[in-house]
């Protein structure tokens, strides 16, 4: 074959794209998607197991297999698989150590890395074929379900898929957010000691100083100090509220992004022919990575804030 110039390659790519689009339009209709926000349980089992639980168990299995085969015969000069895993591992370790310092970074690393790998593997696994298209359902009615364009769909309509993206169950991000919350508080209390850590939230120092000044007779200084003390008390209460709001915001950020991505992919594959959905697929993979990074990075940032003693804060 003669060497193809740049222009001919572009023309061939456009022609292939158009042919695939037309083929998808005519021959592959897709039934309209039904979206449930809550995860569905697999029918026929004696206890309540949701399809997102199956997907997260699969995620755990895949992660264990990956890291087990990487560390099975660890050598000082690593082989291929071990180097590949080491690249990702060291990247997360650098993230921790750069932001938290060397020893704090090592202490925060296990939980931050677990959260990161769990979320990103759950997000990436759900892009494999087989998720959300294999499951319990009913055959299409004899006249077929009309697709978005020409043709009607005569196959199997899935009501309850067997595997669903693990992050789209609200319990999954909620559990991770609670773990991150407990981890941050625990690190703060362990590093600073209970009373110093609590003094960030309930700061009675200024109030007591103001009362002391009042009792000693310096009225104006006392009143201004009491005023500052009340303001600091309010600031502490707002800090407590913001600690708890973090759980909610972490949960909904991850859940919302992943659910919106899943719905987007379902609707794009319904509305547009075959090939046009591929850029959205890549976007979904990117979003999975970014959201995992955000969750783990925010946990790390909150832990660093919790561990820093108050004087250095201001």
């Amino acid at each position: 074959m003669p060497k193809l110039g740049c222009l001919s390659k572009i023309i061939i790519a456009v022609i292939v794209f158009l042919v695939l689009t037309v083929v998808g339009l005519l021959f592959f209709p897709v039934p309209p998607p039904e979206v449930h926000l809550e995860a569905e349980s697999i029918p026929g089992l004696p206890f309540f197991i949701t399809n997102t639980l199956l997907a997260s168990l699969l995620t755990i299995l895949v992660l264990v297999v990956i890291f087990f085969t990487a560390t099975r015969r660890m050598k000082l000069v690593p082989g291929r698989w071990q180097s590949a895993v080491e690249i990702v591992f060291e990247w997360v370790l650098n993230l921790c150590e750069e932001n938290a310092g060397k020893e704090n970074g090592r202490r925060f690393f296990p939980i931050v890395a677990t959260i990161f790998f769990y979320i990103i593997m759950a997000a990436l696994l759900s892009l494999l074929p087989g998720f959300e298209v294999i499951g319990y359902g009913h055959p299409a009615p004899p006249e077929g379900v009309p697709g978005a364009f020409a043709g009607s769909y005569h196959g199997w309509i899935v009501d309850i898929p067997l595997l669903r993206k693990a992050n789209t169950d609200i319990n999954f991000p909620l559990a991770l957010a609670l773990v991150s919350f407990v981890f941050v508080e625990f690190m703060g209390i362990k590093t600073l000691g209970f009373s110093r850590y609590i003094s960030r939230f309930i700061s009675l120092g200024e109030l007591i100083r103001g009362l002391g000044l009042l009792l000693r007779g310096k009225i104006r200084l006392g009143i201004s100090a009491i005023f500052m003390g009340v303001i600091e008390l309010f600031a502490g209460l707002i800090e407590i509220i913001s600690e708890f709001i973090r759980v909610v915001s972490l949960t909904f950020r991850l859940f919302g992004n992943m659910t919106a991505g899943m719905i987007l992919l379902l609707i794009i594959s319904f509305l547009t022919p075959w090939v046009v959905g591929v850029p959205f697929y890549g976007l979904e993979a990117l979003f999975g990575f970014v959201q995992a990074l955000i969750f783990a990075g925010l946990t790390l940032a909150f832990a660093i804030i919790a561990v820093t003693p108050r004087e250095l804060h201001e």
Binding site: V35, H36, L37, S249, F252, R253, F255, G256, N257, T259, A260, I263, V290, Q291, L293, I294, G297, L298
Partner: protein, 78 residues
């Protein structure tokens, strides 16, 4: 108007108005990041990392609005 019409209208308004603020916010973050990058191209790593972090924060608010819109449009049956 029958209640389903109100429900769908509410879903559309929730997402539309809820995306105004984050859209402007993300644009501002991008503007700041590009300015910083233009002044100091060597600090590309930290600038990009912090920009992505700030964009995710701003986008989360839009996602909250999206959740409300999805619940109104697809989960509530009147």
């Amino acid at each position: 108007m029958d209640p389903n019409a109100w429900r769908l209208l509410a879903a559309g308004l929730a997402m539309g108005l809820g995306a105004l603020g984050p859209g402007i916010g993300i644009g501002l973050v991008g503007w700041g990041a590009l300015q910083a990058l233009g002044r100091n191209p060597e600090a590309r790593g930290p600038i990009m990392t912090n920009m992505i972090l700030a964009i995710a924060f701003a986008e989360a608010v839009a996602i909250y609005a999206l959740i409300v819109a999805i619940i109104l449009a697809m989960v509530v049956r009147l």
